[in-house]
Amino acid sequence: MTTTAELMDYAEVVERYDPVLGLEVHVELSTNTKMFCGCPNSFGGDPNTHVCPVCLGLPGALPVVNGTAVESAIRIGLALNCDIAEWCRFARKNYFYPDMPKNFQTSQYDEPIAFDGYIDVVLDDGEVVRVDIERAHMEEDTGKSLHVGGATGRIHGAEHSLLDYNRAGVPLIEIVTKPITGMGERAPEVARAYVTALRDLLRAMDVSDVRMDQGSLRCDANVSLMPKGASEFGTRTETKNVNSLRSVERAVRHEMTRHAAILADGGSIKQETRHFQEADGTTAAGRTKETAEDYRYFPEPDLVPIAPTREWVEQLRATIPEMPWERRKRIQDDWNLTDEELRDLVNTGAIDLVAATVDAGATQADARSWWVQYLNQQATSRETELADLAITPAQVARVIELVGSGELTNKLARQVVDGVLDGEGDPDQVIEKRGLKVVSDDSALLAAVDEALAAQPDVADKIRGGKVQAAGAIVGAVMKATKGQADAARVRELILERVGA
């Protein structure tokens, strides 16, 4: 059932309609254990090996709240400038779906732990947009289904499904924005910038892995359009399965162009869940959205209320780190970076790595150059993220130190780094194994210099006659003879000494 949707040209969309966005972000907390039981919270693992009677929903099992997850929820709320509830409860959200073994999800309904906040989002050109936060509440993740039969694991046409409950019960925080209005043509960009800011914030707080590709950060994008000048919101669709920052922007933009074409044609938007298709950037219809009433929420009888004391909240407030965008501004000032240099750092994801390398003793200029240039190239060619390269900031700092002391040339240093990336050990171990130290023993160098001078007597004469720049040819010969392991500056000194120039 594939029909190509009519789309309106984007420029016309924003000329005729005002978009309204609502973003729901689900964050898996990186606690040791699940939300309501002591099963390990870890990605992957053999199916159904991180399970117990509680997260399998076996009769008689009783949940107990993970205190660390509540702390993380409060800290996230505080970082988002939210009020923290004086008293709140969990609620059962009832629905039948095989990925929820209890037949209800333990969530929060009308009493979220955090509410009424905001986050200031910086767009690419530096413009700051304030996104208001409606609420952040605690809930639990579902299991994972594998659809068998039919077309390649798709639910459509599947003959049966297989369930793994390792993820069922993993702590989730759902963060919901208030309607984001007045963004016009920048709405898709604002959506991406908002999710990016959340990701950076949650990463800085060390509460989640925030890996969109692994599902530890997920975004559902609600989009509606209203005619320019109207004040009543249009019917919205909710797009799920948006698995990267870029997809957030593409999904919002696609829905805007799709809605506009339907509305301009006199049609109406069906309120439904849609699925983003990574391959072509379109969305496909999913299930029609159930109303809140159909979930028959009621207070969870097995869990007592949570009433965070104000002292506890203030203690947690003191643990909120500097916001990533404030930190960026400070680093730009401290390191005296141009906007462009800062952008390179941010875009390559190098900022924390450079800072850690500086902490390990390197100068910021050296550290920046290694991460933004050579290591960034390596990350690209090895098809990984900079932060996932198999080298630590301390190791990079050590390489920089060895270059500074003349023990490595830049060329050798890159070979050392390659060795570390290939898993050959620490820089010093790679140097040892590959025999990469600069030849600094003058007697060995002098032999090579004498040999090179003897091989090119005409050049030696020129140097003797005052043409010092001719020494370059001899330096090259010596470097070749020592396989690049000599310090070129020292070689040059020795040549001039030898010919008595």
Binding site: D46, V65, L163, Y165, A307
Partner: protein, 99 residues
Amino acid sequence: MSNISRDEVAHLAKLARMAVTEEELDTFAGQLDQILDAVAKVGEVAGDDIPPTSHAVPLTNVFRPDEVRPGLSQDEALSGAPAAEEGRFRVPRILGEEQ
């Protein structure tokens, strides 16, 4: 006094995945009415100074330390399952929800 209609009972039954006959709809509508009336009486005696109670015990903030505790093995987890395959619970195909 009829608060609950047959249609509402039918809707609730559908949400709860219960097969209810036409006859039962009438029966349950009447019974649910009685239950609601009985519960509503509580509202008559509770003053504004009495907050709604969802829990019988006056406790808050009962938390567990974030420490891993042993759970079930895969075999144990699947031991009660009507069907299993590849270490997973096998369920009939899921209809009408998503496509």
